[in-house]
Symmetry: C2
Subunit: 80 residues, 2 copies
Amino acid sequence: MVRPAGKPPLSSAAAEFGARVRARRHELALSQEALADRSDLHWTYFGQVERGQVNISLHNILKIADALEIDPGDLVTGLT
Amino acid sequence: MVRPAGKPPLSSAAAEFGARVRARRHELALSQEALADRSDLHWTYFGQVERGQVNISLHNILKIADALEIDPGDLVTGLT
């Protein structure tokens, strides 16, 4: 089955942010659902974030970093 | 003249973010207006950000970091 392409990322920065979230989630061997359980964000929101479709807010960056057990700076360093 | 207290910060994270923006702006000896000229954000928005009254988005974090000539990670590292 071919996966539909879906919406494009909002920006290269949002795409890279999402790629970092996904990579770290995979490091922790967590599903989007499991990550959602660690925060008060919905699992469908993590999908949008990982696809770079969200211009995420500071507060949600911090929630996600906390759930991923990393410093929030790691998610945004070097982005332009 | 006593400065009015104004609105409180949204959160300790937003307050700390704003304090970092203000400190770096002062390092560069720039006014809020001059910083606004370097980005496409309005100077009144910088005032709100510096007072911690904005749950700032990723894209605006990157614009401000660029205008301040710093890595965006420096603005959010260690925030919780």
